[in-house]
Amino acid sequence: MTRRLGFAIDTTACTGCKACQTACKDRHNLPVGVLWRRVYEVSGGGWRRDGAAWRHDVWAYSLSISCNHCDEPVCLEVCPASAYDRGENGLVRHDPDKCLGCGNCAWACPYGAPQLDTARRVMTKCGLCAEDLAAGRPPACVAACPLRAIEYGDIEELAVRFGPPEIEPLPDPGLTTPSLRVRAHRDAGRARATGGRVRNREEVGE
């Protein structure tokens, strides 16, 4: 059976330090405004009355997301220029030399993975550091995480230790079948029930 590589994110360990985001940007020399890996800060809650007292139930967690090399990649379906293809180990690759810069992939991807390089005027995205993998090194984001909150590997093996990617603000995994597993933060259920919000959309360039 063919291996399908993907990421696993441990949101119980992630502190939102953004070392992964920075390491990715540094490794691929990404221009200002382009973040192949982004750390979203999700929070909610507030003050609530409990009898005569007021208590707060504020909660927050961080979620690091890049391209999830989906099994049903919508970017590949909508790209008119055939700039996307499936590579070895199920990786979704993007060839900037074929890209028109139409942005259709960016509209379609529910993870915000394809990003416009405004200087080159083409889309770019995470390739799971395929050159590093070939050289026997881990992806830059995985290597940089001080808390080992990001892992990579065969998605079936990761599925043994991590759950499905059903955590706010991620979309229904049935849409694109992402190669992503998540260990859910203890407040993930509250986020789903009360509608947690991403607080740093501007910071991650949305």
Binding site: Y40, I65, V74, L76, E77, V78, C79, P80, A81, S82, K98, C99, L100, G101, C102, G103, N104, W107, A108, C109, P110, Y111, G112, L116, R120, R121, V122, M123, P169, L170, P171, D172, L175, T176, V198, E206
Partner: protein, 279 residues
């Protein structure tokens, strides 16, 4: 909305060209059957010449949203799976067929008229499929296709009515003009009504669809302006037949302008509904 103006213009102009080609082809066929082919040719010649011009303008303006317009030829490289590739091909075939209608004289133009009509229908369908992304709930419904068809009929009806008034002194053109006016007027009113229904449907859902409804309900100015434009265009279309000749043409020209404006406003609202599910 950054960069969206070129796609707003491309879709509205492209659909207007398709609608005009349908209206003028139908008028040509009607006149050829009721009068003769010469009268049919004279009455529709000027209008048929505007169709490839509109199509060319639409295609040209669409290049402005590309980061790399010089690679635009690659847009047909993924016909196997991408609806956008198919849309680009359909736009090209429609342009060539509608240009052939103008260039080929006499009876030889009939097959090209039919080809342009079919290619136009394919263009509207592929446009709708392109926008029906499963990750954009507001667009992923039958209403996207209905909006595009309605826009083609509204603009096309108005343009056909104007063309027939300009170049057709023949009585036989009366029926074609009545049909074009009726189709244009109905489609113009259907646009804002369909939009209201769409917005109410989105509001009943949660997540991205609900956020879309919120966003659209805050855009009162454009929604009202579209209603005003559509109603004024319909009033002018309906009033034109009872006016004296020079005033009739002026009224129809104003109706076409207002119809285009109403459709542009509707399309801007459609693009504002691009709220993706997820991140």
């Amino acid at each position: 909305m950054k960069g969206d103006w070129s796609l707003v213009s491309f879709t509205v102009l492209g659909q207007a060209a398709v609608g005009a080609s349908w209206g003028l082809a139908a008028s040509w066929a009607l006149l050829a059957a009721r009068a003769d082919r010469e009268i049919a040719g004279t009455a529709t010649a000027w209008g048929l010449a505007t169709v490839p011009v509109l199509a060319a303008l639409a295609i040209a303006v669409s290049l402005f949203h590309l980061g790399r317009p010089v690679r635009a030829w690659r847009a047909v490289a993924n016909l196997r799976v991408s609806w956008l590739s198919r849309e680009v091909l359909a736009a090209g075939v429609f342009f060539v067929a509608s240009a052939a209608v103008v260039l080929v004289p006499g009876p030889g133009r009939a097959p090209f008229l039919a080809l342009a009509g079919v290619a136009g229908a394919v263009l509207v369908v592929t446009m709708a499929r392109t926008y029906r992304m499963r990750t954009v709930p507001a667009w992923d419904s039958w209403t996207t296709g209905a909006f595009f068809l309605q826009s083609a009929l509204a603009s096309g009806g108005a343009v056909t009515a104007l063309v027939l008034a300009l170049r057709s002194p023949h009585e036989q053109a009366g029926l074609a003009q009545v049909c074009a006016t009726a189709v244009g007027a109905l489609a113009l009113v259907a646009g804002p009504l369909l939009f209201s229904r769409w917005r109410r449907t989105l509001a009943r859902h949660d997540g991205a669809a609900h956020e879309t409804a919120d966003r659209l309900s805050r855009d009162h100015a454009r929604v009202r302006a579209r209603w005003v434009g559509a109603i004024m265009a319909v009033a002018l279309l309906l009033a034109a037949p009872v006016l004296a000749a020079p005033w009739r043409v002026a009224a129809l020209a104003a109706a076409v302008t207002l119809a285009f404006t109403a459709e542009l406003l509707g399309r801007i609202l459609f693009y504002r509904a691009r709220v993706r599910t997820g991140l």
